[in-house]
C-alpha cells in the first residue's frame, strides 16, 4: 500500500494547482461550518459565563412580575427560612454614553449575603477603608479587570450612563479580576436601587437550597411571585436561541455541501488523468480493491489537511461571525457580551469529521471508477464519455428520487427542525444530481442555435466532458440557488416587515430610552412624561406604551400594554373573530391578542394564563396578530387592564400624534427641547422605521455573509473544473490548433464554454432557488420562529444569481486562458 499512497501523494503534489483548489474548497467549507459552530457555541458559553457571574451558584431564584420582588419579602424570608442561604439581587440595564451607548448590566448585591453565591467580592473587603465607599457613597461601582483595561478605565474614572429617563454619573470605585470582561457594573444593593430608581424592590432573590426546602418555601410565597430553578433559566436561554443557532448551522453546512462537490470533482479528475498509471499498476498485479483504498485514502488525507486549514481559518472567521451572532442575540434574546472565541475539542473534532467525511465520501465514486480500470491499457476517453451518457439519466433519476424522498421527509417531519433540514439537504443534493441531465438537455437545445464552428465545438465539447463539468455546474447551481433562496426569503421577509411597520407604527413621533437594546425596551420611564408631552403645542394625542416580560405557562414572554383608546388597524390581525372594532372592544374589556410566534409556542389557544402581581390570571384570547419584533411571542393588552393586574405604572416608550397640519420635524424639535436632560431619544416615524429596518438587516447580516461564502466556494469549483477540463483537453486543443484554430479562437472557445457552464448553472438555479425560498419561508421560518412571511416576487435575486453565475464562471476562466497562451503545440503533442 505504501508505495501506492506515495504515488498518489506524488500525483497530488505534481498538480499543486488542483490539489490547492481542492484543499481550498474543502477548507473553506470546513471553515464556514467551524466559524458558525464556534460563534454560536461561544455565544452560548458567554451566556453561561455571564449567567455564572450574575446567577452564581444559586440553585433557585424567587422572581416576580415586571417590577420584581418587594424587598420586605426578603427580610421576612430571611427571618423565617432559618438556615436557607439567600441573597437579594437588584439588576438593570443602563447605557454607557461614552462607550457608544453600550448597554451595561447593573448588578446590585448585598456583599454580606453574597459569599455562598458569587465570588466577585470577598467579604473581607468590607474592612478596607477604601472599599467602604461602596456602601457609603451612591453611584459607586466595581468593574471587571479586562473591561477596565479595554476601555482604559482606572479607579476613580467616571462613567456617564443613561438610566431610564435620567442621565447619571457612576464612579469606578474599583476593579476586580473576577468580573473579567463582562459588561457588569457591580454595585451595592442600595446604590443599585437608587441608581435604577427601584428602592423597595428587588429583581430577584437567589436561593441555595435543596428541593424540599424550596417546595416548603413555595407555599409561603405571596401571589405573583414564584421560584424557578437556575437550570430552568439556563435551559430557557438555550431554547430561546436554539432555532436561530440551528438555522445558522444548517446554512453553514451548505457551504460544506458545495465543498463536497469540489472534492468529488477534483478526485474524479485526478482518477481520470491517472488512468494510464492506474492501468499499469493493475497490470503489475495491484488489485482493484487496493486502488479503491488508495484513492479513498488520498481523499481522506486531503480531508484531514483541508480540515486543519479549515479550522485555522474558521477560528479567524469566527471572530467576524461572532459579532454578527452576538448582535442578533442581543437584539432578540438577551444582553450578551462575547469577545472570546475558544476552539473547543468538540468543535475541532466535528470539523475534522466533517472534512474527512466529506473528502472520503466524495471520493467513493471516483475510487470505484478507478478500481474498475482494466489492467491492460488506457481506455480511450471517448469510451468513458460514452459511459457518461448512460450514467447521466441514471444519476438524474436517482437525484429525482432523492429530492422526492427529501421533500417527503420535511413535509412529514412535522415540527422537527433537524429532520426538516436533513430533508432539505436531500432535496438540494437530489436536484444537484439532476444537473448533468439538465445540462445535457440544455446543450441539446442550444446546439441548433448556431452553425459556427466555435459554437458547435463548445456545445459538443461541454456535452462530452460532462463527467467533470457536470459536477462543477452542479456545485455552482447549488451555490446560486442558495443565493437566490436566501435572498428571496430575506427580501420577502423585509417587505413583510415593512408592511407590518406601516400598519403598526402609526404615531408621528416616538420617545424612547437609548437603554433599549435592539428591539427589547428595557427602560422604566416616568409615567408623568405622558402629561408633559400632551401639554406641548401641536400634540394631538400621546400614547403610553409599556413593554415588559411576564411569565406565562411556558416561561417568559413579552407583554405590550397599549392605550386602549386607539383601535388597532385590521391589518395587524391574522386571525380574529369579528371586526377590528369588535376585537378592540373586547380588548378594552380585558381580553388579549397574541402574536403569531406566541401561537406557535402555545398552539392555538382560547385563553392565556399569566402571572400577575395577584397570582395567575386567565385572559381570553380574541385574536392573533402579526408581529416580527420577538420570536418568543408577544401579548398585546390594554394598558388599563395591565395596570389593574400589575402594579407597574412605568412606561417603556411613548407615541405622539401631531395635530393635522403640524410639521412633525418641528414638533419633534420641541419635544426634544422639552425632554432635554433626560437623555431620551425622540424619533420621527420615518427614523424609527429606518431603525427597525436597520436591526432587521443587522439580523440577516450573517445569513448574507454565508451566502457570499457559498458562492466563493462555488467559484473555486468552477475554476478547478475548468483547469481540469483544459488539462484534459490539451491534446484536443493542440489538434485544434494544429488544424488551424488560432490561439485567439481557443481563448474564445474557452470563454464560450465557461459562459455556457455559468448560464446553464444559473438557469437551473432559478427554479431551485425559488423552491428553496418557498421552503425557507413556509417551512423553516414557520417551524423555527412561527412567523408568516409573504413571498414577495422580486426579479432582483434571480438576475443577481445569473450575473453572479456568469461572472464567476468567466472570472474562473481567466487563469486557464492565460495558461492556454503559454501552451505550445509541440509540448502538447509530445505529452501524447
Amino acid at each position: 500500500m505504501k508505495p501506492l499512497i506515495r504515488a498518489g501523494l506524488r500525483d497530488l503534489i505534481r498538480r499543486p494547482l488542483f490539489s490547492g483548489l481542492m484543499l481550498a474548497g474543502l477548507a473553506l467549507g470546513v471553515a464556514v461550518v467551524t466559524a458558525i459552530d464556534l460563534a454560536s457555541q461561544s455565544a452560548l458559553r458567554a451566556f453561561e459565563v455571564s449567567t455564572a457571574t450574575v446567577v452564581g451558584r444559586a440553585t433557585h431564584r424567587v422572581v416576580g412580575g415586571p417590577t420584581g420582588v418587594p424587598e420586605g419579602l426578603y427580610i421576612e424570608l430571611r427571618a423565617a427560612a432559618g438556615s436557607m442561604q439567600m441573597a437579594p439581587v437588584v439588576e438593570g440595564v443602563v447605557s454607557a454614553l461614552d462607550f457608544d451607548e453600550r448597554p451595561m448590566r447593573v448588578l446590585g448585591i448585598d456583599i454580606f449575603a453574597e459569599a455562598p453565591f458569587r465570588d466577585q467580592l470577598s467579604p473581607g473587603l468590607v474592612f478596607d477603608p477604601d472599599f467602604q465607599q461602596f456602601f457609603t457613597k451612591p453611584g459607586m461601582a466595581i468593574i471587571g479587570e479586562e473591561f477596565a483595561k479595554a476601555n482604559q478605565l482606572a479607579p476613580g474614572a467616571e462613567l456617564a450612563v443613561q438610566v431610564n429617563d435620567r442621565l447619571e454619573r457612576i464612579t469606578v470605585l474599583g476593579i476586580v479580576s473576577t468580573l473579567g470582561s463582562s459588561d457588569v457594573l457591580l454595585m451595592d444593593i442600595a446604590g443599585a436601587q437608587e441608581l435604577l430608581g427601584t428602592s423597595g424592590r428587588l429583581t430577584r432573590i437567589d436561593l441555595l437550597a435543596d428541593p424540599d426546602s424550596v417546595a416548603a418555601l413555595r407555599t409561603q410565597l405571596p401571589p405573583g411571585l414564584r421560584i424557578v430553578s437556575s437550570s430552568e433559566q439556563r435551559d430557557t436561554a438555550d431554547q430561546l436561541t436554539s432555532a436561530f443557532r440551528l438555522n445558522l448551522t444548517a446554512l453553514s453546512l451548505l457551504a460544506l455541501v458545495v465543498g463536497f462537490f469540489l472534492v468529488y470533482n477534483t478526485m474524479t479528475f485526478s482518477v481520470l488523468s491517472r488512468r494510464p498509471v492506474l492501468g499499469i499498476l493493475r497490470s503489475l498485479g495491484v488489485t482493484g480493491r487496493q486502488i479503491f483504498a488508495q484513492i479513498v485514502l488520498e481523499a481522506i488525507l486531503v480531508g484531514f489537511l483541508g480540515s486543519f486549514i479549515g479550522i485555522l481559518f474558521g477560528v479567524l472567521l469566527a471572530h467576524f461571525a461572532l459579532g454578527l451572532v452576538t448582535r442578533t442575540i442581543n437584539d432578540f434574546y438577551f444582553l450578551l457580551t462575547v469577545r472570546e472565541v475558544t476552539l473547543t475539542t468538540s468543535v475541532a473534532v466535528k470539523a475534522i469529521a466533517l472534512g474527512v467525511g466529506a473528502g472520503g465520501l466524495a471520493s467513493v465514486i471516483p475510487a470505484l471508477e478507478a478500481a474498475r480500470v482494466p489492467p491492460v491499457q488506457v481506455l480511450r476517453r471517448s469510451d468513458l464519455e460514452q459511459g457518461a451518457r448512460v450514467w447521466v439519466p441514471r444519476v438524474g433519476l436517482f437525484g429525482l428520487g432523492l429530492a422526492v424522498a427529501g421533500s417527503a421527509l420535511f413535509l412529514l417531519s412535522d415540527n422537527s427542525l433537524p429532520l426538516t433540514f436533513i430533508g432539505i439537504l436531500l432535496v438540494i443534493l437530489g436536484l444537484a444530481l439532476i444537473v448533468p441531465f439538465g445540462t445535457l438537455a440544455f446543450l441539446r437545445l442550444l446546439r441548433p442555435l448556431s452553425s459556427r464552428i466555435l459554437w458547435r465545438l463548445a456545445v459538443r465539447g461541454l456535452a462530452r466532458q460532462l463527467s467533470r463539468v457536470g459536477i462543477a455546474i452542479a456545485a455552482l447551481m447549488v451555490a446560486l440557488s442558495v443565493t437566490i433562496g436566501i435572498a428571496l426569503m430575506i427580501t420577502s421577509f423585509r417587505s413583510t416587515v415593512q408592511n407590518w411597520l406601516d400598519i403598526t407604527l402609526y404615531s408621528d413621533i416616538y420617545v424612547s430610552s437609548p437603554a433599549a437594546i435592539g428591539n427589547r425596551p428595557q427602560a422604566d420611564l416616568s409615567p408623568s412624561l405622558e402629561a408633559r408631552l400632551a401639554r406641548l403645542e401641536g400634540v394631538a394625542t400621546v400614547e403610553a406604551i409599556r413593554t415588559v416580560q411576564v411569565l406565562g405557562e411556558k416561561g417568559e414572554l413579552d407583554l405590550t400594554a397599549v392605550d386602549p383608546r386607539r383601535v388597532r388597524d385590521a391589518g395587524i390581525y391574522r386571525l380574529a373573530s369579528g371586526s377590528a372594532r369588535q376585537v378592540w372592544d373586547r380588548v378594552r374589556q380585558g381580553a388579549v391578542l397574541i402574536s403569531e410566534s406566541l401561537e406557535f409556542r402555545y398552539g392555538t389557544t382560547e385563553t392565556l394564563v399569566l402571572q400577575t402581581d395577584a397570582g395567575e390570571v386567565t385572559f381570553d384570547v380574541v385574536g392573533i396578530f402579526y408581529d416580527y419584533s420577538s420570536d418568543r411571542g408577544t401579548v398585546l393588552m390594554s394598558r388599563d387592564i395591565y395596570l389593574e393586574n400589575w402594579d407597574d405604572p412605568a412606561l417603556s416608550s411613548l407615541g405622539v400624534e401631531a395635530l393635522p397640519g403640524i410639521d412633525t420635524y418641528k414638533l419633534a424639535e420641541s419635544i426634544r427641547a422639552e425632554l432635554s436632560g433626560t437623555g431620551l431619544i425622540v424619533h420621527e416615524n420615518q427614523q424609527i422605521r429606518e431603525e427597525a429596518m436597520r436591526i432587521f438587516d443587522r439580523t440577516f447580516a450573517i445569513t448574507q455573509s454565508l451566502r457570499v461564502l457559498a458562492v466563493v466556494v462555488a467559484f473555486i469549483g468552477v475554476l478547478s473544473a475548468l483547469l481540469a477540463l483544459q488539462l484534459d483537453r490539451r491534446r484536443e486543443y493542440a489538434t485544434l490548433e494544429a488544424i488551424g484554430l488560432d490561439p485567439e479562437g481557443l481563448e474564445k472557445l474557452t470563454y464560450l464554454e465557461t459562459a455556457l457552464m455559468g448560464i446553464s448553472a444559473s438557469l437551473m438555479a432559478l427554479p431551485t432557488g425559488l423552491l428553496l425560498a418557498l421552503i425557507l419561508i413556509h417551512v423553516i421560518n414557520v417551524r423555527s420562529f412561527g412567523w408568516t412571511i409573504q413571498l414577495t416576487p422580486a426579479a432582483g435575486p434571480f438576475l443577481q444569481a445569473i450575473l453572479v453565475g456568469l461572472v464567476a464562471s468567466l472570472a474562473a476562466a481567466v487563469y486557464p486562458v492565460s495558461r492556454l497562451r503559454r501552451m505550445t503545440v509541440a509540448e502538447s503533442i509530445r505529452g501524447d
Binding site: 424587598e71 427580610i75 430571611r78 427571618a79 432559618g82 438556615s83 437579594p88 448585598d110 454580606f112 465570588d119 466577585q120 467580592l121 470577598s122 467579604p123 473581607g124 473587603l125 468590607v126 474592612f127 478596607d128 477603608p129 477604601d130 472599599f131 467602604q132 465607599q133 456602601f135 457609603t136 451612591p138 479587570e145 482606572a154 479607579p155 476613580g156 464612579t171 469606578v172 470605585l173 474599583g174 476593579i175 476586580v176 479580576s177 473576577t178 451595592d188 444593593i189 442600595a190 446604590g191 436601587q193 437608587e194 428602592s199 423597595g200
Partner: protein, 377 residues
Amino acid sequence: MRIAIVGLVIALAFGGYFLLPTPSDPEIPTYQLLQSSGPPEFETVQDPREFSFPRDHGPHLDYRTEWWYYTGNLVAQGGERFGYQLTIFRRGLTPGGTRRESDFATNQIYFGHLALTNVDEGEHVALERFERGSAGLAGASGDPFAVFLGDWSIQSLDETGTQVRLRASDVGFGLDLTLAATKPIVAHGEQGYSIKGGAEGNASYYLSFTNMQTQGSLQIGDRIFEVSGKSWFDHEWGTSALGAQATGWDWFGLQLDDGRELMLFHIRKGDDDGDEQISGGTLVAPNGDARWMTADEFEISPITTWTSELTGTTYPSGWEITIPAEGLELIVEPHVKDQEMRLNLEYWEGAVRVSGSVEGQGYVELTGYSGSMRGLY
C-alpha cells in the same frame, strides 16, 4: 473589658481578611481600589463621661467600633457543663446615621460570633455571620436596649436593660437564654474611660455586668439542654486603635466562688520597642464595688501551651495569676484545650475553671497568636 481592644479586634479582623486574597491564586479575586479621600471623622474617646441607661447600652454611632459580648458557664439539669459565647460587633464606616433613598443604604456593618463548648464531651463549635445595619437585617437600639443580627438577638426584658434574652442559632446549634444582672454595672478604668495606649484618644468606653444569673436552653444537634449558670456581659465602644506595636492581647473574665469577679487584660507588644506593656484589671466585690487595678498589682504567668492541629497556632493554655494585695493565687485552666475560634479572624476564646486560693470559673480570650497584627491597623 478588653479595654484597649476595640480597635485591635478590628485590626485582627482586617488582618485575617487581608491575608486571605493572594494574587497568585487564580481562584481568589484581585482588587484595585480607588483611594479614599481620608479617614472618616469619628469622635475619639478622650475623657471619662456620664452614662445613662438604658440609652448607653445601645449603639454609639459617632464612634467607629462597638461590641456587645456575652460569655458564660452553664450547667444542664443532668449535670452536663457548657460554655457559650455570643458577640455582636458593630463597625461604623462613617460617623452618625445615614439618610438615603434605599432602605438597604447603610454606613453600619454588624457581625457576630457564636460558640458553644461542651465541656464533658470536650467539643467546641463556633461560627460567624455578617450583615448590613439596615433594612431590618441588623441593628441596635438603646431604649429599649436591643441588638440584632439576622435572627440572632439581644433583647432587654426590662426598662433599664439589666435583664436580657439572648437568642441565636444556626446550623447545628443554638441558644435561648435569659440573663439577669445581680450586681450593678461596672465601669472599668476611670468611670468607664479605659485607656489602652499611650497616644491621646487611644481609649475606649468599657462597661460590664460581671455577674448575670442565667437560665434557658442550649441546642446541640437535635438535643436540647435546659441550663442555668452565670454569664458575663461586656459592652465597649471607641474609635482609635492601639499603636502599631500591639501584637495581641490576653483577657480574663473570672467569676470566683467567694462572690468576687476579676477582669484582667494584658496587651502584648513586640519585644523590641521597650514600651511599657499595657495591662490592667478590675476586681468586683460581692457587694458590687469595683476597684481598678494597675499592671503592677498583678502578675499573669503562662504555665503551659497548646498547639492547634488545624491551624498550627500555639496558644498559652493555663496560667498562674497572683494578686498579692488581695491574697489571691489562682490557677486558670481551660475546660477544653481546643476552643479556637477558626473564623475569618482566628483567636482563642473559651470557658475556663479556676482553682487555687479560691475556686471559680470564667472565660479567657487570646488574640494575635496566629500571626502578628503589627502594622495592620
